[in-house]
């Protein structure tokens, strides 16, 4: 059992559009991956070790991003799997679904405790795309468990509704204290709470990713599948990853070596291995 490869299901809700590259990024870290239809046979879902809700525009973000998909029946099944401790990552639109369905932050599971509001940016509105620097705030979640707190990584964002907000008093502090804030937007050296454009959407205290209390369900706005290989990293990017990318210019390493997003998927694999080992120990 220890040798068997982790199996990940990427859920294709209607309107997602990052499922193929997410699958490739998962596979690049030594896991198996299938794309499952949102309306497919339910029993298949339980066979997997972890789940990814990929980016895109479920139901074209009508009403609010993620709002309609959060009502799809498959989300009930994901609740059960999350309860069982399996990792679930919602990326961008997937994050919006996790918040709208009350899976994250999940202090009271199933209660909608946060929203991902429209970006607030000086002198512009709508969609905004940019590579961001991210500081790791919690190194135990299923997307950061191979990293160390206060590490800085770089991953691109692309969204119109990515601003984490809540009206529940004290919730944000509590999330930081609980280690449920997984990543924040930062300066290139990890400077906290930067202004636009380093914080690309006006998110409260620069929050970029939030988990449930156990850290196995993570809603993250940045797109790690767009940073899975060095070839995807811009040559002019600041920081460690930009330097790495420029250092590889002209060599095949550009194509073969993992980029910063690789560590996110590596964490997913490690999280699953750890979980299975834990269960093996119990048995």
């Amino acid at each position: 059992m220890m040798e068997s490869r982790a199996r990940i299901a990427v859920i294709r809700f209607p309107g997602v559009n990052c499922e193929d590259e997410t699958k490739r990024a998962v596979e690049s870290q030594g896991m198996d991956c299938d794309i499952l239809m949102w309306n497919g046979p339910r029993e298949r879902l339980a066979e997997y070790d972890g789940y990814i809700l990929p980016g895109g525009f479920t139901y074209q973000d009508r009403v609010r991003a993620g709002a309609i998909a959060a009502k799809d029946g498959i989300v009930d099944l994901l609740f059960d799997e999350a309860e069982a401790g399996k990792p679930i990552i919602g990326i961008c639109n997937g994050a919006q679904i996790l918040l709208e369905s009350g899976m994250v932050p999940g202090i009271t599971p199933g209660k909608v405790e946060m929203g991902l509001a429209r970006n607030i940016m000086p002198d512009r509105d709508g969609y905004y795309t940019r590579w961001t620097h991210l500081r790791i705030e919690s190194d135990t979640s299923c997307v950061t468990c191979v990293m160390t707190n206060h590490d800085v990584t770089s991953i691109p964002t692309a969204h119109a509704e990515g601003r984490f907000v809540t009206i529940d008093e004290g919730l944000i502090d509590r999330l930081f204290e609980n280690g449920q804030v997984v990543m924040t937007y930062s300066g290139v050296k990890g400077e906290a709470e930067p202004a636009f454009p380093l914080n690309p959407n006006g998110s409260t205290r620069g929050i970029a990713a939030v988990s449930n209390p156990s850290g196995n369900v993570v809603a993250m706005m940045p797109h790690p599948e767009r940073a899975a290989w060095l070839s995807q990293v811009p040559e002019s990017l600041s920081g460690r990853w930009g330097a790495e990318r420029r250092g590889a210019a002209g060599s095949r390493r550009v194509l073969t070596e993992p980029g910063p997003g690789g560590e996110i998927f590596k964490s997913l694999g490690a999280f699953i291995t750890e979980r299975l080992r834990g269960r093996g120990g119990e048995a």
Binding site: R12, P14, G15, N17, C18, D20, E21, R24, A25, M37, N39, G55, G56, F57, Y59, Q60, D61, R62, D123, R124, G126, Y127, Y128, T129, R130, P156, A158, V188, H223, E225, R226, A228, S231, Q232, P234, E235, S236, L237, S238, G239, G242, A243, R246, A248, A249, G250, S251, R252, R253, V254, L255
Partner: protein
């Protein structure tokens, strides 16, 4: 064969009717035919046409569908063939070979169109349906869409129409991101120009690229197997409604914005959500057909709707179709048959498949992907069948409403339009006295047609699909590695400087090709194909026709003159599009605007180049002579008032030599960065290279102005002092700048000498950023990165907001 048309079918009486009676009758029926054209229809049919037939011919003979004014010219001047061409113009997209990997021949499908009129009237929906239409053209070849580009031309943002222009800019950009980002195709670039000639006619061109394996290409025609097997015609997508009924004819007349569209169906409603679902489901359908080993035909529905698509499927095979319009899924009851036949409802495709495959095709769309549930009654249905006789038959509620020979429907008509040159001679320009080069550079950098386009492209998703290597703003062309796990790269760029069009249409066509080739070569890619979209005024005006012909001639000459790198054969112009009538009812036409897109191949994408300087202490080389001709230049527009002066002529041999050398240099890994010279000349190109270096490790440049010139071939001998410096710094004659590490210089020089390229080592890079010029005629000067950044970053932002 004489078919007796059943009584309830409405006909339009044409035969034996005089013009003064016929014209009002046609107008009343919403037909834009001339009286002669209507009679030609009746002659073809041997009887008066039904209302449905009249509408079909009216659409198929519109400029938009038939290219009636342009077809002959395009055929005469453009090279469309070559060893790498799988499919030239004629179908929805052109196809060229990219690379063979593990025995599979991967190809690039390309389509290029305009959606100008709709974008002027309803900017968001107009631009969105522009993308919607162009990606359908590529999907229906069996390809997966891997990128889109948008060349845009807007009015003067400070002129009399400023407010409307800003609304159009905002609406078009919003339409592009709302559609393209949701569909999930990366935006790989485009360009934007502003000029008052576009005040009442913006140009929204769209390019889509797709990846397809050669033996999986689906043709837009009924397969030959249909001669022996029963084939169904399937319609899939959005329920048919009257939207865009008459759209092709709308695009084929002078725009009268006063005639507001009050009909609720006049606006085409884009639905990228449905389009995404169709794209994913269609992959399964195509795979099903491949697995079963059956041949199918597949075509998108664009202008002319069901009638146009299904008749072309038939005509391409010499077969016929019989469609029952009553079987079309409609959005509302009581649609007239001509509306069902010709409406341009978005997000639809037609298939011809063997009858035994039909149930499975319907199941994929209607059950597996659940289209009727999640997309408001959309879905797939069988609407007709292939018939052996080459006739196009439409039935509606039991009556035959159209019965004509298929090829009569699709053959179209052709006009030779009168042509006459514009009477005007450009004059040598004179720069005002007392200019200082430093101030001019800051001014040009902040000019609305030069400054950074970042405000726009940050709206666009350039990274979805995960294969993007170079994004907009990082280099002269977008670069992707579209085949997972394989190092082959595709570079793509669009160009067309409209100010050349104001002076010399031939040069405008030629420079659009040269510039797009340069952009692709500057990232290290060999050009493999070109596309063009020709945006002009009213073709019934002889001067417009002359400009059009000249531009096409320029494109053709440049494609042949520059040629493919390896063989020297012409770079094939695989698909193209002509957009006439970009002219307001007030009479003003857009500047002649040939827009060209170049696709290039990188054998090893890890050897691509970007434009940001990489490290201090490297040498900077200029390739390509500067000239004193400043016509159409950003310099002249910024400081020279309204002067219309001669433009630099494209030297095809020089362009070819430089393209060959630059791609050699890239492939040998000898350059650290590369940027081509265009708007704003060497000065702006250098500033952009400095500003594109890493923020936390900035790199600047120190350059000798004297070295921009060569003793024997320098810019105009007449000028001296500051004027001469300005010519050198801001000449937009073709060329490149290269950053080269000192250790690589010897090998670099060998290549440049071998290839016979004019070059000069003009300076060095310096750590820390900034740009300084030495050996100037007047006073040496320098600018910090911050000083450069302000005008360049902000110059166009206010306009684009």
């Amino acid at each position: 064969m004489n078919v007796v048309v059943p009584a309830p079918v409405s006909i339009i009486k044409v035969l034996g009717v005089a013009d003064d009676e016929l014209l009002p009758r046609l107008a009343e029926a919403g037909l834009t035919f001339t009286a002669d054209e209507a009679r030609r229809v009746a002659d073809l049919l041997g009887r008066d046409p039904t209302v449905v037939e009249a509408n079909i011919f009216n659409t198929m003979w519109s400029e938009h569908c038939s290219y009636k004014s342009s077809r002959k010219v395009l055929g005469e001047y453009l090279p469309t063939e070559g060893v790498g061409v799988v499919l030239g113009p004629g179908e929805d997209a052109g196809i060229v070979r990219l690379a063979t990997v593990n025995g599979k021949s991967y190809c690039i499908a390309i389509a290029h169109e305009s959606h100008n009129h709709p974008s002027q009237v309803v900017p968001n929906e107009g631009a969105a349906t522009g993308i919607g239409g162009i990606v359908r053209d590529v999907y229906c070849m069996g390809a997966d869409v891997i990128g889109v580009l948008d060349p845009l031309r807007f009015g003067d943002p400070t002129g009399k129409n400023a407010e409307r222009t800003k609304e159009i800019v905002h609406g078009v950009v919003e339409g592009i991101w709302q559609y393209g980002n949701a569909l999930g195709v990366p935006n790989l670039g485009g360009d934007v120009y502003f000029d008052s000639s576009f005040d009442e006619n913006c140009l929204v061109n769209v390019v889509a690229l797709g990846l397809v394996v050669e033996d999986e290409i689906i043709r837009s025609r009924i397969p030959v197997e249909a001669r022996d097997t029963d084939y169904d015609v399937i319609l899939v997508g959005k329920p048919t409604d009257p939207s865009g009924f008459g759209g092709a004819t709308f695009a084929s007349r002078v725009l009268d914005e006063e005639r507001a569209l009050d009909d609720k169906y006049a606006v085409q409603v884009p639905d990228p959500f449905l389009k995404r679902m169709l794209a994913v489901a269609t992959r399964d359908v195509l795979k099903l057909a491949r697995d079963k080993g059956v041949a199918i035909g597949f075509k998108d529905l664009g202008a002319g709707g069901i009638a146009c698509a299904t008749s072309e499927l038939g005509a391409a095979a010499g077969l016929g179709v019989r469609i029952d319009l009553s079987k079309v899924i409609v959005a509302e009851d009581d649609l007239k048959p001509e509306v069902i036949a010709c409406s341009e409802t978005q997000e639809r495709y037609s298939f011809v498949v063997p009858r035994e495959l039909s149930p499975e095709v319907l199941r994929i769309y209607n059950e597996v992907f659940d289209l009727p549930e999640i997309c408001h009654g959309s879905g797939a249905s069988v609407i007709g069948e292939v018939i052996q006789e080459a006739r196009f038959i439409l039935e509606h509620e039991g009556a035959v409403v159209c019965d004509a020979r298929t090829e009569e429907i699709t053959a179209g008509i052709c006009y030779v339009r009168e042509s006459r040159p514009r009477e005007f001679t450009p004059k040598e320009c004179v720069l005002p006295d007392g200019l200082d080069a430093r101030g001019v550079l800051l001014k040009v950098l902040g000019a609305v047609n030069v400054a950074s386009r970042e405000h726009i492209y940050r709206h666009y998703d350039s990274e979805v699909k995960g294969s993007t290597v170079v994004r907009p703003g990082e280099a002269d062309a977008g670069v992707i590695a579209p085949i997972p796990g394989v190092g082959v790269g595709v570079a793509v760029a669009c160009d067309g400087n409209p100010f050349y069009g104001a002076v010399d249409s031939y040069q405008a066509g030629a420079v659009a090709v040269a510039e797009s080739v340069r952009n692709v070569a500057a990232v290290g890619a060999h050009p493999i194909a070109l596309t063009d979209c020709l945006n002009f005024g009213n073709p019934e005006v002889p001067e417009v026709v002359h400009d059009f012909v000249e531009a096409v001639r320029g494109i053709g000459d440049a494609a042949r003159g520059i040629g493919l790198k390896d063989s020297g054969e012409p770079i094939p112009v695989v698909p193209g599009n002509v957009s006439f009538y970009n002219q307001s009812s007030g009479g003003s036409a857009v500047l002649p605007s040939p827009i060209v897109c170049c696709v290039g191949r990188l054998v090893d994408v890890s050897r691509h180049l970007t434009m940001g300087l990489k490290a201090g202490g490297n040498s900077i080389y200029l390739l390509g002579r500067r000239t004193a001709k400043l016509g159409a230049s950003a310099l002249l527009r910024t400081v020279g008032g309204d002067q219309v002066a001669p433009v630099p002529e494209v030297d095809f041999d020089d362009e070819r030599r430089m393209m060959v050398a630059v791609t050699d240099i890239a492939e040998s890994g000898l350059a650290a960065s590369c940027h081509d010279i265009s708007d704003g000349g060497v000065a702006v190109a250098l500033a952009e290279m400095v500003l594109s270096s890493p923020e936390d490790d900035p790199v600047g440049a120190r350059v000798s102005v004297q070295r921009l010139s060569a003793a024997e071939t320098g810019a105009s001998g007449a000028a001296s002092g500051t004027t001469h410096d300005l010519e050198l710094l801001f000449s937009e004659a073709g060329g490149y700048l290269l950053e080269v590490a000192i250790g690589h210089e010897e090998r670099l020089l060998n290549i440049l000498e071998d290839r016979g390229v004019w070059y000069s080592r003009i300076g060095t890079t310096v750590a820390g950023g900034g740009l300084s010029f030495t050996e100037t005629a007047d006073r040496d000067f320098s600018l910090s990165a911050k000083e450069l950044a302000r005008p360049w970053t902000d110059g166009a932002t206010e306009v684009m907001r």
